[in-house]
């Protein structure tokens, strides 16, 4: 049983580390603010969720499990809220998404 839990923990932690790195590379390489927010969402949702679930498989105390799930709960609510606030604040200050040429022209004409 503990072998199975250890293997599950391995899989979840390594998958979480993979998604964290993918999100970091996307944050550096994506072309504009709104695509960078997508990359940050990958690291915050998939990376954080997988790593915290992987840690719950290792906890032998129910208090530790409850704390890990509480952290996961707060992150699940806080990250979409702050991403929404970044997008809204940027749009209010006239930062527009990067669009292909014809779409930009269409929006300007209409």
């Amino acid at each position: 049983m503990s072998m199975v839990l250890g293997a599950l923990s391995w899989v979840f932690l390594l998958a979480g580390g993979f998604f964290v790195i993918v999100g970091g590379v996307g944050l550096l390489r994506m072309p504009d603010l709104f695509t960078r927010m997508h990359a940050a969402g990958i690291a915050d949702t998939m990376g954080t969720g997988l790593i915290l679930v992987g840690l719950t498989f290792q906890s032998d105390d129910w208090v530790v499990t409850a704390k890990l799930l509480l952290i996961l709960y707060f992150i699940i609510f806080a990250n979409p809220t702050s991403t929404h606030a970044v997008a809204r604040s940027a749009l209010d200050n006239d930062i527009r998404p990067l669009l292909p040429e014809e779409q930009t022209d269409h929006r300007a004409a209409s």
Binding site: G6, A7, S9, W10, L13, L14, G16, G17, F18, V20, I21, G23, G24, V25, L27, L28, L33, R36, M37, A40, A43, D44, G47, T48, I51, L52, G54, L55, Q58, S59, D61, V64, K67, L68, L70, I71, F74, I75, A78, N79, T81, S82, A85, V86, R88, S89, A90, D92, N93, I95
Partner: protein, 100 residues
């Protein structure tokens, strides 16, 4: 097959991502890119606190991580409101949940 290896791999992944986010926060053309990168660094810090607590056998670190989640969220909202409004006063529109 000890689990400490996976924990160390997670810590290394988080350090790499923090470095990339720091580079973005120095380069970022607008202030919102910098805010996004700093937010990412703080969420990686939370993960790192949890991982290091398990790696050192001191799960009390989770309390610090729990407090850090709430402080990071509140600080993020305050910074966004400051850059969106140029002040931290309550909004007079009342329909935007405090942050716009």
């Amino acid at each position: 097959m000890s689990v400490a290896g996976a924990l160390a791999a997670g810590v290394v992944a988080i350090l790499v991502t923090m470095t990339l986010a720091l580079i973005r926060s120095f380069k970022g053309p607008t202030v919102y890119d910098r805010i996004l990168a700093v937010n990412m660094v703080s969420s990686q810090t939370i993960l790192m606190l949890a991982l290091l607590g398990f790696l050192m056998g001191r799960p009390r670190f989770l309390d610090i991580a729990l407090v850090y989640v709430l402080i990071a969220f509140t600080g993020m909202m305050a910074v966004l409101k400051f850059f969106g409004h140029d002040n931290l006063e309550p909004s007079d529109r009342g329909d935007d949940g405090g942050v716009r």
